[in-house]
Symmetry: C3
Subunit: 343 residues, 3 copies
């Protein structure tokens, strides 16, 4: 899609400086941008980079307007405006409504006439696919799954029974939603499976990354609220609840029945144990181990530092002696206090 | 499925108190249960919750019988009985034997007449699918795979050559069994692939979680013994051996040739390095790093605590100084001992 | 495939001792090998094991020749020669060129006549599949994907738009290449998606493990250079660059825009945060947390040691007191120094 600078500015609701008719057809970094491309300056720190850009236009904040040698779009938050501009210049491709002849659709499924179902999908009884939804190649939607309007499933997504997606969700390839929760009772050393009879409810505007897994609830539903963004290879166990507009980075795992608040930002490779409660507005840095509830908004971390292996080995051993070291310090303090009095 | 209280008690081998004809058709928590639903009290700690339940019946221990205001099933282990009751009330759906016309089956595969193969499966030469096995939509079973009787593969499962599943296994969607082990020799800085010619053997009653991966052995087989339960997104490398009735939580990775004992319980996000031996009956808490063999049953852990980021940064830096701190304590002890003698 | 010892030696470019006509048809460990099988002794440490082997031949170093009681292949690096021998004895199966009638190929895709496309693949417009490439069952290749000659995609692989694979790549089942990077701008607490318009470039001889995910770039490409080997369940975020002949073990995650050097060896379950730079020749041990750039080749680690849970709990608490402990040591040192002067 190509738009003039003037039209782009009008759609983005921002001012522009320069040639109103300049045609913009793509986005690129300041370094890589060529004629016809739009770039952006996210932080004034890098304003010196503006001088050399070959972009046809750059999104800048008011304060950097003077340093922009080419056409400019003036934005309060250039990074946000870049997001919006990219959405305009690269609109999602929507297939017209229809079902590929090589898809297998149960007679008792309801596919909206404006929805698209690609080749080799398998759609079970009771499934409802809403208006303009897009179901990619090789997806399997089992019995009673509901897909809200304009939601997009990429290829090879698997959704098992009693899962309900809201509107405008995006599910990346290989994601699995509604797999059995990991629930067993133990009988004399052997595991007895507890059938998982809950479902999964995803709100509107939820994004689920590639090969991410979300288990169905044991009794009630696993819940992922409106606007939640999940990166790739995240594991969400049964009966987890993730609050609105929380974002979670790749490889993080959340154990059963944990409740995550709204507007949280959780880094990659974080492990959160089960049955915890994490407050709204909590940020957790990458690779943190969360073994207790967090009751207040704030930024939390755990983990040990990177070191050259030889040095790490020495410190690693000492970690086993910490309690002993603390006791020795206490003893020393007593002795020194006594000595100070004595002297 | 709906059963009377009397019939349910009889099938579960337990006593009941109350209306023998009360019809039970589902399970729910004490809080959520409605008429017609069964609940359970797993621990006497929560017996106060019994008072308000709207469940038609509750599974309780003998000692909590008096606190149950509705029909009761009396069980030695209410949680285990709840598992069994749920199995009775929500029996697995078995498709009658047959092969979907949109599955592709090699002429040299043997599918039992009572087994079901769903749409868009691809089944290679030499594959054997046992009685009443259920192969979900989009599964690919390559050359010579053997699926034991009553095993169930959910959708989009991939099983590569020389893999043998026992009876009554359950494989969740997206799991991959029999992928190549990560084996290379190094020749002047370049990696030379070692073809992986072993297979994978899964015992009976093994469960494999969604998007979990189990590599085939380099020479001999990777082995997952009877009754092992693997959660989602677990990585089992080549030639790992997992002993009977061990359960492993999500996102855990086990490197090549490590041998895990029987009846172990391993938490989520645990990393176990290769060529180790873990004894029977070992429990490992979530996110633990296992870099050495464990020779005795017991409960093991590693990892650093969650802290507010600002405090963590201070302690994080100190972890690099642990060895130095330990030496300084030792020096102090010598000096103080000397001073004590001198004074 | 079966070869005589003489022919095998000649193909491997090494000397042999013993029966030139001895027929070798497989490989196995020293312990398991039977008649007709070849084994290897990777390290002289284990030379005592040679005595009992039933292998028909063993690959040994010159220095272990005397201890080998059966036919011997003499190699400078027996492990490397075992890799090569296994390649000769177990050649990859190549299907003859052709497209399965149950694959769905867009008219605007170009499939080389010598390439093979298996059942239930879906191949979009603009896709190019090179000579002798092998596309396994259930793979989805979206618009404009390029697969280099002799590359092999196992089953159920998903490759989205603007991804280019070099020659002789191997992609294990369930891998996803070209999923959207995790990019959002924040507008008053809500996440605004940034369409990801870059692609992914894989060099020649790249291997991608089962259920590994590689995101497409935000603007420019994510790059995985020649000879890189990625194990299972690795997550590569947008705009990561991985240098030539680097190998990465399972479950490792690399956040956005991080640049990894050449010839690195990165262990399993490692987490590397975004926008870092890792030098050539860096080794990182399993489960390490990399939160800063590494400027020099070498071996790096982080992490806390495994302990019995009761002991760990004590040391775990002390980790929060490290900074305080360090200050107390400093205070003690001052006091003791003063006391020493006073006494």
């Amino acid at each position: 899609m190509a738009l003039t600078l003037e039209l782009l500015a009008s759609r983005l609701g921002c001012e522009f400086d320069g040639d109103a008719d300049c045609l913009i057809s793509g986005v690129a970094t300041l370094e890589d941008a060529a004629v016809g491309e739009l770039s952006f300056l996210a932080s004034s720190k890098y304003r010196a980079r503006l001088a050399a850009t070959k972009a046809s236009a750059v999104i800048v904040a008011e304060r950097d307007r003077d340093a922009c040698p080419v056409n400019a779009l003036i934005a309060r938050d250039p990074y946000l405006t870049y997001a919006r501009a990219t959405q305009l210049l690269y609109p999602d491709e929507y297939h017209a409504g229809g079902v590929h002849p090589d898809a297998v659709i149960d007679d008792a499924a309801q596919i909206d006439v404006t929805a698209w179902v690609d080749a080799h999908c398998v759609i079970g009884p009771g499934v409802i696919v809403g208006a303009r939804a897009q179901i990619g190649a090789g997806c399997v939607l089992e019995r009673d799954v509901v897909i809200g309007r304009e939601s997009r499933l990429m290829s090879n997504v698997t959704i098992h029974g009693r899962v309900r997606l809201g509107e405008r969700c995006v599910i990346q390839p290989g994601a699995v939603i509604g797999s059995d929760g990991f629930g067993y009772a133990n009988e004399r050393g052997k595991w007895v499976k507890i059938p998982q009879v809950g479902g999964v409810t995803l709100g509107d505007d939820v994004e689920v990354g590639a090969n991410t897994t979300i288990d169905r609830g044991a009794l009630s539903d696993t819940i992922v609220a409106n606007g939640v963004k999940l990166d790739n290879q995240i594991q969400i166990a049964h009966n987890v609840h993730i609050g609105e507009h929380t974002a979670i980075a790749g490889c993080t795992g959340i154990a059963g029945s944990t409740h995550i608040g709204k507007h949280c930002a959780i880094g990659g490779h974080v492990g959160i144990v089960g049955h915890l409660s994490i407050a709204d507005g909590v940020q957790i840095s990458a690779k943190t181990f969360v073994s207790q509830s967090i009751h207040e908004a704030g930024f939390y971390s755990s983990g040990a530092p990177l070191e050259p292996n030889a040095r790490w080995r020495k410190n690693f051993v000492r970690m086993k002696q910490l309690d002993e070291m603390a006791r020795r310090i206490k003893t020393l303090e007593k002795m020194v206090r006594k000595l100070s009095n004595d002297v």
